[in-house]
Structure formats: structure tokens, C-alpha cells
């Protein structure tokens, strides 16, 4: 006698955007920064949004990062509809599911490299001491900053700062890491090293990385590239695959 098992498999995406729009008010003029943008991003992807300045890259990253809310459309991040999260829920969601890498690194100047990475574990997730130290040392090793762990941000280079920022973004085991122009303030060699670190982290921790850039040389490092122009998604390129748009 045969056994038949019926399964309903629903695919869990890292991000699902459905006709997402965002308007800004500049005085009396309403500016549409994003216009009905729709896309899906699979878990553990290495994705880049590219486009010229003002194309909507940062706006989109802010929406995915729950730092802002869409004017229209539906946005699911890590399986959660982020549209209806209030201020406190948004903060909590960011702290538990997302990691951020900023263009200017944004390390806290009063904390050492070790303490900067420790910050989200202590202040956001309340992870116990032993576990905290283990995670930080693993990441410091992975980004090659173990020797500098007791230095303050003003004692290390730009590339090193960004590697610390990567470690800080990953230390909470986020589902998604968002990086807005993470290489903009770095020279090309350092930029590639940073991207390499990000990719290595993705491979190691299976975290989805989404970054924005307008640097064409950097774009080549992404596995999936979304192109934005004037607030509209104009193309999707999958490395080694076909070009849509």
C-alpha cells in the first residue's frame, strides 16, 4: 500500500516588495522617490541595487531596513509585513533581524573595536557574556581585525572600520544585512577587500546581503543586480543568468 504525502510548500523570501511606492513632500511639491517597485530576494543572496544618484537606492534600502515606511504597496522583510510595525516594534525588528553597514562606517567613537561589535549584543539582544565573547571573537577573526580589537575607531583605517562595521552587522545573526554604499568612502582595493569580506560572511553565515552602489566596478561583485532609474526598477541581472527588464 502506497503512502501519499501532500505538502504545501511556501517559499520564504528574504524580501518581497509588491508595488512599493514612496513619496516625499518637498515644500508643497510631492516627489515620488519610488514608483511601484516589485521584486523578491531569496535568502543568502548577494544582491546589489545600482543606479545613479537620486534613483531611489537609499530610499529602497531604508524601506527594507524598516527605517522608513512605504507610501503604497506591500513589503515583507524576513517573513514580516513591516508596514504596520510601530516605532518600538520597528526598532525591535531591526535589532533582531537586520544588520546595517553604513557608508561612513558609523562606529561609536567612545567604544573600542571589540565594544562596537559587542554593542548590539549587549544593548539590543541582551546576550550573556560567554556567548557574546565567543561570537565577537569569531567575527573579529573572520574579518581579520582580531589584532585591533582594543583600538578605538580613530586609531584604525577606513577599510578596517568598514570590516568592523560588517562584524557589528553580523554579530546578532541577522537574516538580512543592508549596506548603503558601503564602499563609497574606500579606495578600490579596500572596497574589493570589504566586498570579499561580505561575501565570505554570506557564505559562512548564510545571511542575505543587500547593498547599494553606483560604482560599476563594484557592481560586478554582486550575484544579483537590480537597476533603479528615477524611482523605477528597470532591470534585474543574475550573474551567469539572463538579463530581465
Amino acid at each position: 500500500m502506497g503512502l501519499v504525502v501532500a505538502e504545501n510548500i511556501t517559499k520564504i523570501y528574504s524580501v518581497v516588495a509588491t508595488k512599493v511606492s514612496k513619496d516625499y513632500q518637498a515644500g508643497e511639491i510631492a516627489i515620488r522617490a519610488l514608483n511601484e517597485v516589485s521584486f523578491e530576494i531569496d535568502p543568502a543572496s548577494f544582491v546589489s541595487f545600482v543606479g545613479p544618484s537620486g534613483s531611489g537606492k537609499t530610499t529602497l534600502l531604508n524601506l527594507i531596513g524598516c527605517l522608513d515606511k512605504p507610501t503604497e504597496g506591500k513589503l515583507m522583510v524576513a517573513g514580516t509585513d513591516v508596514l504596520h510595525l510601530d516605532r518600538k516594534q520597528s526598532a525591535s525588528f531591526r535589532g533582531n533581524n537586520l544588520g546595517f553597514i553604513f557608508q561612513d562606517f558609523n562606529l561609536l567613537p567612545v567604544l573600542t573595536v571589540f565594544e562596537n561589535i559587542e554593542y548590539p549584543l549587549l544593548m539590543v539582544q541582551n546576550i550573556p557574556g560567554g556567548e557574546r565573547k565567543k561570537r565577537i571573537l569569531t567575527l573579529l577573526e573572520a574579518v581579520g581585525m582580531i589584532e585591533q580589537k582594543n583600538k578605538y575607531p580613530d586609531q584604525i583605517s577606513g577599510g578596517q572600520k568598514q570590516r568592523v562595521a560588517i562584524a557589528r552587522a553580523l554579530v546578532t545573526n541577522p537574516k538580512l544585512v543592508l549596506a548603503d554604499e558601503p564602499t563609497a568612502n574606500l579606495d578600490h582595493k579596500t572596497a574589493f577587500l570589504v566586498l570579499e569580506s561580505m561575501k565570505k560572511m554570506r557564505n559562512e553565515f548564510q545571511t542575505t546581503f543587500i547593498f547599494s552602489t553606483h560604482d560599476q566596478k563594484i557592481v560586478g561583485e554582486a550575484e544579483i543586480v537590480f537597476t533603479l532609474e528615477d524611482g523605477e526598477l528597470t532591470g534585474k541581472q543574475v550573474k551567469g543568468g539572463k538579463k530581465n527588464g
Binding site: K88, S92, G95, N106, Y119, P120
Partner: protein
């Protein structure tokens, strides 16, 4: 919480000069307030102590209506023997009372056989009086014995000087009793009393039995009973208690026999003491204003300078409450540092002032040496006020920081 403390503390160290300036402002404020409270409070306590311990007693009981006519020292408003005995019985049962002394107060003529003037006298039991007002002998000028025998008189210093009366001289006191008959009695001058400020500060003293003899009093009718309490802090509660106890004692007409007055109602210095308290209150208000404005100013600057940092920590998931705590802690540290430094410097200055000794004149009293002291509770209260105000001053900027939209804060240049 430890991490919040660490971040707050390091942020303060980040702007060392500014932190130092603000903390110094708080410190200076605390030092001035401590010094003012210490000097004015010590002056007040010294004067109150001098009045209560060398003249008035902590409180006095009179026959109802006596105080309103006290300037005339009316003998017809003295307590009748029965009333005094009843009062004595009540007072002996009160555990709060350390000692009490009945007094017969009267006015008379003082004659040296060459000159005559008027004098106000207290007839007292010396042993009871010295227990009720233990500093009375300290008012005696040097070289005199510290007890009063029958037939002896202690006269005020001013009278001694103006009438050229010396120790051992014989004088006559002439007085009219309540029935209008005049009588005189000879006394030997056994002591000269330094004047003190306040009513009765320039009165003479004789033995109570001599007073009764001079006034031809067959049974003792006392003008007032001076009380000393074991604990001066119990003055007002005990005064209320005694009033309650004595309110039941009424005369034939159903009116109360006794009236109770604390030193505050007996001495005009109480108004000066109240002024001192009022000034101390306003000085504290000024300190509050200084702390409030300086800490708030610094915290507003701190928030403004760190908008991007606030955006960063908010973006990575720090809850608004923790951001608020971070800034409030900075204010708390600033206030605490300022208060502690102020306490330390203030106490050192008070110690130095004590070593040096502040002398001052008050009324006819000259060369009074002020011993500056400050109670531990005063230091604690001032420190707590400063710390509390520092927290209050930090709340508005901290709240602003906690409510900042991360997206706007991150864009801030």
C-alpha cells in the same frame, strides 16, 4: 545597564573641557550653598542656643494672659500656688522634660545708696534654673562664683558699669507687691551678667525666696515656668502635647488657666531666624537654576553633536528607552561629579573657617566666635537636589534624542 554607564561616562570624557566647566559650575554652586547654610545656620543655632540655654529655656508656661502684659511684669497674673502645683505635677510626669524652673518676675528700684535706677528681676531656685538654662553661668563675667545664694544678686553688666557697682557691694532692691505695698531688701552683688539679645537679656537674678520676701508673698505665686527638653527637636510636638494636657485645666469661669509658648513666640530673634531660613531657601533655588540651566545647555549640545550617532544606534535596534537612559545618565554623572566635588571643597572650607574662627558682633554682644558646622543631612539633601535637578535637566534633551527618527538622524551632517 553597565554598558549604558560606560558609554555615558566615556561620552562625558570625550569633551573634557566642557564637562569640567559644567561640573565646576555645579561645584561652585554647591560650595556657596553649603557655606551659606553652614554660616547662617550656625549663626542661627548659636543665637537660638544662647537665648534658650542662657535665658529663655526651650519653652515657657504662663498664666493665661500673662504674655500679653509681660512688659509690665504684672504680679496679679502670676500662677496661684495650686495652679503651679498642678503644673509641676504634670511636668514631672513628662519624659521629654529634662528640667523646669519656676520664676517670679518683677520690676523694682535698684539703689546703691548713691544712685537709684529701675531693674527687672527674676526670682529663681538657682539649682533648678541652672538645669533649665545651663548656659546662664557662662554669662557671668570672670572671677565670679557660679552659684547664687540667698541674699545675693546677679546684676546686668550695663547696670554694673553705669552705676559703678562691683562684686561684693551692697545694694537695695525696692519693689511694690500686687497689693500696692512697698518693701525693700538688701542684697550683696555676687555676679555680673553679660547681656544677651532678647527679652530678659538684661534682667537681674535673685533667689526665689528673696523675691517672695521682697514682694511679701506668703505662698509662692510664679510668673512663669521655664522648661528644658531632653531633645530640642521635639520642641513643637511637645509644645502641642503640653497644650493639650493643660487645656483641660480651667478656672471657675471655664477659661483655660495656662498658656504655653515656645522660644519662637517669646523672642523677636525668631523673625531673624525665619529670614535666614528664607534666604537659605532662595539660595537653594538659585543653585537649582544654575544646575538646571548649565546641565540642560550641555545636554542639548551633546544631543545636537551626536545626532548621527543617535541615528546609528537607533537604526541597529536600540530601543528609545535605552537612548533616553544613555543621555539621562550623562546628566546624572555631571550632577553627581559636581555635587561630590562641591561637598568635598565646601567641607574643607568649613573646616578651615572653623580653624580660623569667624568673629562677629550682634546687638550689644561683641566678639562672638562663630563655630561653623553643617549637618550630614544638609549635605545629603543639597547633593540629592543637585543630582535630581541634573536628571530633570537632562530629560528634555534625552527625550528628544530618544524620539529622533533614525532615518533623519543618519542624514544629519
Amino acid at each position: 545597564m553597565g554598558n549604558l554607564f560606560k558609554i555615558a561616562f566615556r561620552n562625558l570624557l570625550r569633551y573634557k573641557r566642557r564637562t569640567l566647566l559644567t561640573a565646576s559650575l555645579v561645584t561652585i554652586g554647591v560650595v556657596f550653598v553649603l557655606l551659606f547654610i553652614s554660616i547662617s545656620g550656625s549663626f542661627k543655632n548659636m543665637m537660638v542656643g544662647q537665648m534658650t540655654d542662657s535665658m529663655l529655656g526651650h519653652l515657657e508656661v504662663h498664666r493665661k494672659g500673662y504674655l500679653a502684659s509681660i512688659d509690665n511684669l504684672p504680679l496679679n497674673l502670676n500662677l496661684k500656688p495650686q495652679a503651679y502645683q498642678k503644673l509641676e505635677g504634670i511636668l514631672k510626669k513628662q519624659p521629654e522634660v529634662e528640667a523646669f524652673s519656676p520664676r517670679i518676675k518683677f520690676g523694682g528700684m535698684f539703689s546703691t545708696f548713691v544712685e537709684t535706677t529701675n531693674i527687672r528681676l527674676n526670682g529663681v531656685y538657682p539649682d533648678l534654673e541652672l538645669r533649665a538654662v545651663p548656659l546662664l553661668p557662662t554669662r557671668l563675667t570672670n572671677g565670679t562664683k557660679k552659684t547664687l545664694e540667698k541674699g545675693e544678686i546677679w546684676i546686668p553688666e550695663l547696670m554694673s558699669k553705669s552705676m559703678k557697682v562691683n562684686l561684693g557691694d551692697t545694694v537695695v532692691v525696692i519693689a511694690t507687691n500686687k497689693d500696692g505695698s512697698v518693701n525693700g531688701k538688701q542684697f550683696k552683688v555676687a555676679g555680673v551678667l553679660e547681656s544677651v539679645t532678647g527679652p530678659g537679656g538684661r534682667d537681674g537674678y535673685i533667689h526665689i525666696e528673696d523675691a517672695m520676701e521682697t514682694l511679701r508673698m506668703e505662698e509662692m505665686e510664679v510668673s512663669e515656668v521655664a522648661l528644658r527638653l531632653k531633645n530640642f527637636g521635639q520642641l513643637n510636638p511637645f509644645s502641642e502635647k503640653l497644650e493639650r494636657l493643660l487645656s483641660g485645666e480651667v478656672n471657675k469661669e471655664g477659661k483655660p488657666i495656662y498658656e504655653v509658648h515656645t522660644w519662637e513666640k517669646l523672642s523677636p530673634f525668631y523673625n531673624i531666624a525665619r529670614m535666614i531660613d528664607l534666604m537659605a531657601f532662595f539660595i537653594k533655588l538659585m543653585l537649582i537654576a544654575v544646575v538646571l540651566v548649565s546641565i540642560m545647555n550641555v545636554m542639548i549640545m551633546a544631543v545636537y553633536e551626536r545626532i548621527r550617532e543617535i541615528g546609528t544606534i537607533a537604526a541597529i535596534g536600540t530601543l528609545p528607552g535605552k537612548i533616553l537612559s544613555m543621555f539621562v545618565l550623562e546628566g546624572l554623572f555631571l550632577g553627581t561629579m559636581g555635587a561630590l566635588a562641591g561637598d568635598l571643597i565646601g567641607l574643607i572650607i568649613i573646616l578651615i573657617l572653623n580653624r580660623v574662627g569667624i568673629t562677629f558682633d550682634f546687638g550689644r554682644e561683641t566678639g562672638l566666635v562663630l563655630s561653623t558646622t553643617i549637618g550630614p543631612m544638609d549635605v545629603v539633601i543639597i547633593s540629592l537636589i543637585v543630582i535630581f535637578i541634573s536628571v530633570v535637566a537632562s530629560l528634555q534633551p534625552a527625550y528628544k534624542a530618544s524620539r529622533m527618527e533614525p532615518i533623519k538622524a543618519l542624514r544629519h551632517v
